[in-house]
């Protein structure tokens, strides 16, 4: 009789402990998932914003370099990359910035990953559809360099995979721990008659 009561009391003590363990086993992964999701979202927003700002800065550099009486073409990707790396690098962690040498920009971040490996963003500079430069129809002062009637657009793209907290196998990239970025900035240059 006494033994039964003792067993029942012990079982009653054990049950809440077991219940707490099960509750913890359920809630801890959910809580960690939420925590990592919020940290990752914040990191993505920070890195993506830095990439947008860098692309804008790159477009300004490319446009200003081409838009002078001596500049005829947009600067190379290497020159623009040097200009934006200082702005981009502090915001990216464990991600490197490389210039994209080919005149054709990568279509998808996967191309950058295939060329440079994981966690690399490439800076690509492209002049779009440069129109033939004609002597301007509008009246301009002959003492100053003559401007062309039309000018091409210059696009700077920041594309690739940035480092993230996504575990391997869950990210967008092939190597895991990566999140895709693909932003561009476009502007026009001033183009002068040679």
């Amino acid at each position: 009789m006494e033994g039964d009561a003792r067993r029942a009391t012990r079982a009653a003590f054990r049950r809440p402990r077991a219940q707490a363990t099960i509750e913890f086993a359920f809630s801890a992964p959910l809580l960690l998932l939420c925590l990592f999701a919020t940290i990752d979202a914040a990191a993505w927003a920070l890195q993506n914003s830095a990439a947008v700002a860098a692309a804008e800065e790159g477009a300004r550099i490319a446009a200003s370099a081409a838009g002078t009486p001596v500049g005829q073409h947009a600067p190379s990707a290497a020159q623009v990359t040097r200009g934006v790396t200082a702005q981009l690098e502090p915001a990216l962690f464990a991600t490197s910035v490389r210039p994209w040498g080919s005149p054709r920009c990568p279509r998808k971040p996967d191309e950058v990953e295939a060329a440079f490996g994981p966690r690399v963003v490439a800076v690509c500079v492209r002049e779009n559809d440069p129109p033939p430069c004609t002597t301007p129809a509008t009246a301009q002062s002959p003492a100053l360099p003559l401007l062309c009637d039309d000018s091409p657009t210059v696009s700077v793209r920041v594309v690739g995979f940035m480092a993230s907290l996504v575990p391997p196998g869950f990210g967008l990239g092939r190597h895991g721990g990566e999140i895709a970025v693909d932003v561009s900035a476009t502007t026009h240059t001033l183009r002068f008659v040679r």
Binding site: A41, N128, D182
Partner: protein
């Protein structure tokens, strides 16, 4: 004795289920809204960038250059090789800088367009020349034939104190080759209703960007 213990266990189980049922939706609600704020920040940064480049591009052409008939601007410059009526803006007869502004804006604003509800306005406006410093400022007037676009650029003048008068061109403030200024604006509502975030996000933030630019030194 046993019945009392069973009842106690049941009430604890019910309490735990109730707690979980309350806590999990609140947790998910918080996460959803946090993600929504991050998306909003990203969209705002890109909108600021696009409007800023549009304002700068408005002056990247000769003063007095106009687009000839047949010239179209595509919302996305990448589609310029095959422009279509549905995706391009007709800028014939407008200052060339207006097309430059649109091409810069649409080429930079690559954020998911399905999430943005735009407020359209005339692509390009000016106040014209009032003829003298004594004339009162006029409100901005769209150029004839200016198509509606997601970015609106208004030519204006700055007075000696640096105050901007959008749509107001005056010979005293803004002599023929003097300092004029362009102000570009874009407004959109971020709509989460077609995303999974709609489950927990019940607000639709309005994004607005404003930028000003002055002509580059070589412009004439």
């Amino acid at each position: 004795m046993r019945r009392v213990q069973r009842r106690g266990r049941r009430s604890r189980d019910a309490q735990a289920i109730l707690e979980t049922a309350l806590v999990i939706p609140i947790l998910l609600l918080l996460v959803c809204n946090f993600l929504a704020v991050m998306v909003q920040v990203t969209a705002q940064v890109q909108l600021d960038s696009a409007v800023s480049l549009a304002a700068q591009a408005r002056f990247q052409t000769t003063q007095g250059a106009y687009d000839p008939s047949g010239v179209r601007c595509c919302p996305d410059p990448r589609c310029c090789a095959s422009p279509s009526g549905a995706t391009s803006l007709d800028t014939a007869g407008l200052p060339t800088g207006c097309r430059y502004a649109a091409e810069s804006f649409y080429g930079t604003m690559t954020f998911n367009q399905g999430m943005l509800r735009w407020q359209s306005a005339a692509l390009c406006s000016t106040g014209g020349d009032s003829g003298g410093a004594s004339a009162s400022p006029r409100s901005a007037q769209p150029y004839p034939g200016a198509p509606p676009a997601h970015v609106a650029c208004v030519l204006g003048a700055t007075d000696p104190t640096g105050r901007v008068h959008p749509g107001y061109l005056d010979r005293a403030l803004n002599p023929p080759f003097g300092l004029d200024v362009v102000t570009c604006d874009a407004t959109a509502t971020l709509d989460f209703s077609r995303t999974p975030l709609a489950w927990g996000v019940f607000w639709a933030p309005v994004l607005h960007a404003h930028a000003e630019a002055v002509p580059p030194p070589f412009r004439q």
